[in-house]
């Protein structure tokens, strides 16, 4: 991204630690993690399994509470932000409710908020069109392919128009072609909506392709190893993927891992 972008801090992770378990059988998932996420930035948390990247995402969303340090989002703690419904989340599995149609799944957050059907059906219809599922809005999840289910999950995460989108390996269970399509769609969505996106992944090319910055994490215990700025290029998927700069970046990221492996 361009250097003249205003770097306003959205999420501040300050000396955060997370220890699971007790009575001597403790596992340190995260140890003294510090970094910031800027507004409208696409940040990836990249690392091997066990580096605590999913835990970190859950701490931001107030689905877990850190055992040390603190997280600030804007001027608030995660709980306040969650209660104001300023998060959208997408998990690795689509996590749809099997008894709800595509449309009803997308409307779930608005329904939970207590909005009326008349208020939100226009929003859900628009989201359904955006993720290209217009013909499938009355389908049940089991009638959809994995990629379509994940589109529903993304539309659901956007339904309350939250400023922050948290994504926990959302594409890692999908085939290469679907993954590629959804990656492009996600970049489009970010361009249109300017959301702050925190994206957990273990795929180096995916992180390099999508991110403005990559937080490289190491495991046992989970720490921030390094933070890399990525200069995103313009061009088609193939152009970017085949460019020298892309290869150079992935090599650099891979180098971070080799350093401690």
């Amino acid at each position: 991204m361009s250097l003249d972008r205003q770097k306003e801090i959205e999420i501040r992770i300050d000396d955060v630690s997370m220890v699971f378990g007790r009575n001597g059988r403790e596992v340190t998932a995260l140890s003294q993690v510090c970094f910031e996420v800027y507004r409208s930035e696409f940040v990836s948390l990249l690392g091997p399994s066990g580096c605590g990247k999913s835990t970190l995402l859950r701490l931001m969303a107030d689905l877990l509470e850190p055992t040390g340090g603190q997280i600030t989002i804007g001027e608030e703690v995660p709980r306040e932000v969650r209660l104001k419904r300023k998060f959208g989340i997408v998990f690795q599995s689509p996590t749809l409710f099997e008894w709800r149609t595509v449309q009803d799944n997308i409307e779930l957050p608005m329904e939970v908020l207590g909005l009326k059907k008349s208020e939100y059906s226009a929003i859900s219809n628009q989201l359904i069109d955006m993720v290209g599922l217009t013909k499938f809005k009355q389908y049940y999840p089991w009638q959809l392919s994995g990629g379509m289910q994940q589109r529903v999950a993304i539309a659901r995460a956007l339904s309350l128009d939250p400023p922050i989108l948290l994504m926990d390996e959302p594409f890692s269970a999908l085939d290469e072609f679907t993954k590629e399509k959804l990656q492009l769609d996600l970049l489009d969505i970010q361009k249109q909506t300017n959301k702050t996106i925190v994206f957990v992944t273990h795929s180096i090319p995916e992180a390099v392709f999508l991110s403005d910055r990559i937080i490289v994490m190491s495991a046992h215990p989970g720490r921030v190893h390094s933070i890399l700025d990525i200069e995103r290029e313009e061009g088609s998927y193939e152009q970017i993927r085949n460019s020298d700069r892309f290869h150079e970046m992935t090599a650099r990221v891979r180098g971070c891992f080799n350093a401690y492996a």
């Binding site: 969650r82 099997e98 149609t101 329904e111 939970v112 009638q143």
Partner: protein
């Protein structure tokens, strides 16, 4: 390829199946009576048309006694289902309650109903109440266990999602857990529907003064002259059991339409 097969099949298969059973039955009865010349052939397998004739002749008695039995068993089934649902909900809310109640519930199912029925009837001496209680007794357990499994079947991410959207405990329970439990609930209801009818009949065999079970028992005592009556009572029981099972299945389709087996279309591509 399987489109027309699957669409037309449900009704068609049932009709073919029914005709097949009737033909095999008549053929077998004919073989036993007129080919093999078995002693007292009608008590082995009577001609179906003679059984149906008896049913028509004694229609009013059969309906009268049948409605006593099935009326009671349905009341018992509904009460048992309600108890099962409440137990499942209570157990889903507290692990401690679940651990406390499970052994009693499992032990309760170890008591043979054929032994429990006369004890119960001996204590309360009311045939209707005994039938209701026994039907409820066999119903509550499959309902509670299957529904509880459904209530506990939700994925951690589904709960995290509700938490992320700051859903209240009540909203999470009704919009997530209860919905997820419905397929299990219906599995339990379908299991216990025929059991409830059998349980009521067993009460009658063990000493009630009326009901289809009494007709069954007395026609057995009076030997070959009543053999068609005996088979009529069996047929009636089967038909009522099937109707009741069908009603539960229809309710299941209406209340849980998302289950794959109720959907004609296949998985879509994309």
């Amino acid at each position: 390829m399987s489109g027309w097969l699957r669409k037309g099949s449900q009704g068609g298969v049932i009709i073919i199946w029914a005709i097949g059973v009737l033909l095999v039955w008549e053929a077998a009865a004919w073989y036993i009576a007129d080919v093999a010349h078995v002693l007292a052939p009608a008590s082995k397998l009577p001609y179906l048309h003679l059984v149906l004739q008896t049913m028509l002749d004694h229609w009013s008695t059969l309906v009268e006694q049948g409605s006593i039995t099935f009326g009671n068993s349905i009341v018992g089934f509904l009460i048992g289902a309600a108890v099962g649902i409440i137990l499942a909900i209570v157990m889903s809310l507290s692990r401690a309650v679940e651990l406390t109640l499970s052994p009693y519930m499992i032990a309760s199912q170890m008591v043979p109903i054929i032994g429990l029925a006369p004890i119960l009837y001996g204590i309360i001496h009311d045939p209707s109440l005994s039938r209701v209680l026994m039907a409820g007794y066999v119903t509550f357990f499959p309902v509670a266990i299957n529904m509880l499994r459904g209530l506990q079947s939700i994925k951690p991410e589904q709960e995290e999602l509700m938490r992320l959207y700051a859903a209240s405990v009540w909203t999470t329970y009704t919009k997530l857990r209860l919905k997820a439990s419905l397929p299990g609930l219906f599995a339990g209801l379908k299991l216990s529907a025929p059991l409830a009818i059998t349980a009521s009949i067993i009460v009658e065999l063990m000493g009630a003064p009326d009901g289809i079970g009494i007709l069954m028992l007395s026609s057995l005592y009076y030997g070959s002259s009543q053999v068609y009556m005996f088979w009529s009572t069996i047929l009636i029981s089967v038909v009522i059991g099937l109707i009741w099972f069908l009603l539960v299945t229809i309710a299941e389709r209406l209340i849980t339409p998302w289950q794959p087996e109720f959907r004609p279309q296949g998985r879509s591509e994309g």
